[in-house]
């Protein structure tokens, strides 16, 4: 028995066979925020073979209150979360293969990222991305574990495509109402509890056991919790998981795509394909427009009037200080490129 995993192997639910299985598995985590960090750290310590973690954001001070993989240094240098997470996770367990990808998870790269993994963990903070996850996992028949948390409550549901109801079976529209962590706030215990449920289901699946068919909901502040067995709600005509599925969220778009990060006065602009884009060339160009430019090799940050632009290696840009998407597109074309 390897000392590092000895306590986990002693646990009857896993044992040495379970531990050996874990070492062969590949988990994909979408989002390296609060839930993504917590799940990733537990899985890395548990000795999963490989973790790929994808995130489109960079570390800010407001993240440090609950996103456990990040430090003040990461916030000071505005490191992309995927890169900062990769470093921390490797320092925790160098035996695990860890790949951090500082990109958005979207309809165009989803299939390629999900293709070879055993299971996917939801660490996102929005339903747009979750519905893309839902469609691609249904299409490729990969299980995933949904998790969400806000204020002091949270919820978790494991989804086995075609066998248990998918997100689309359970609700058929993209919820726009309701708060986000940036408007209603969140506390660490709600994150940890949600991630604990997610990681537990993930470990069960990876060690060849059944995941729970129940959706769990709790409020850790009010000390409430509830579980409902949802299997009956599997929709035989679902557009994502049934035999007549057409995967509505995997339809590819063309050109510039904008997305509003709600509650943050930030718009993300993502180019379809940009040829020969380099942060260095942009750096040289933008220095003629503003003196407030800095970078860390992974991204470039510059300020023009009250607007802050954060540009990633793939040309994707977060524009802070704006909430109008068409205005953001214009600014993108003006300063970054087509």
């Amino acid at each position: 028995m390897e000392e590092r995993y000895s306590r986990q192997e002693l646990f009857s639910g896993i044992g040495s066979e379970g531990q050996a299985l874990l070492a062969e598995k590949h988990v994909l985590i979408i989002g390296a925020g609060a839930l993504g960090s917590a799940n990733a750290e537990m899985l890395v310590r548990a000795g999963v073979g490989k973790i790929t973690i994808v995130d489109r954001d960079y570390v800010e001070w407001s993240n440090l209150g609950r996103q456990q993989l990040y430090t003040e240094e990461d916030a000071l240098t505005s490191l992309p979360k995927a890169k900062a997470a990769e470093q921390k996770l490797l320092a925790i367990n160098s035996r695990v293969k860890i790949v951090g990808i500082a990109e958005e998870f979207h309809a165009e790269n989803a299939e390629q990222l999900v293709e070879s993994v055993d299971i996917l963990i939801d660490g996102t903070d929005n339903f747009n991305t979750r519905f893309i996850i839902n469609d691609v996992t249904c299409k490729l028949n990969v299980p995933w574990v949904y998790g969400g948390c806000l204020e002091s409550h949270g919820t978790c549901l494991a989804i086995l495509p075609g066998k248990t109801p998918c997100l689309k079976c359970l609700f058929d529209y993209l919820p726009q109402e309701g708060g986000t962590c940036d408007t209603l706030g969140i506390i660490g215990p709600a994150v940890q509890m949600t991630a604990a449920y997610q990681t537990a289901e993930c470990l069960k699946f990876l060690t060849g056991q059944l995941m729970s068919p129940e959706m769990v909901y709790f409020d850790v502040w009010e000390r409430q919790s509830s579980s409902v067995e949802v299997t009956k709600l599997l929709d035989p005509e679902c557009s994502s998981c049934s035999s007549q599925a057409d995967y509505p969220f995997l339809k590819k778009e063309k050109g510039l795509r904008t997305y509003m990060l709600c509650g943050r006065e930030t718009v993300q602009v993502r180019p379809g394909q940009i040829e020969g884009f380099s942060l260095k060339a942009l750096n040289d160009r933008i220095k003629q427009v503003t003196s407030e430019v800095r970078g860390n090799g992974e991204l470039l940050i510059f300020q023009i009037n009250h607007l802050r632009f954060v540009v990633f290696k793939d040309g994707r840009t977060l524009i802070h200080g704006i909430s109008d998407t068409s205005e953001a597109q214009k600014l993108y074309q003006q300063y970054i490129g087509a």
Binding site: H153, T155, L170, F171, G179, V228, V230
Partner: protein, 67 residues
């Protein structure tokens, strides 16, 4: 009447209330909730017709967006 919601006993002034009305009083968005009434899962289309009476047990879970 007395009912049980998510393991807690609740007293209501009404003698009868629908699941839809109960969710509204809890400020739960109906379209992203899942409700079990006396161990039986209830379809969303039936929320407004399904009546809750004294002694009933409910489990209410709903989707949460943040993370």
């Amino acid at each position: 009447m007395n009912i049980q919601v998510n393991g807690r006993r609740i007293q209501l002034n009404e003698h009868e209330i629908t699941i839809g009305e109960l969710l509204e009083s809890y400020n739960v968005t109906k379209r992203i909730s899942v409700v079990e009434h006396n161990k039986e899962i209830i379809k969303k289309e039936e929320y407004e017709q399904t009546k809750i009476t004294n002694g009933d047990t409910l489990e209410i879970v709903h989707f949460v967006g943040g993370g």
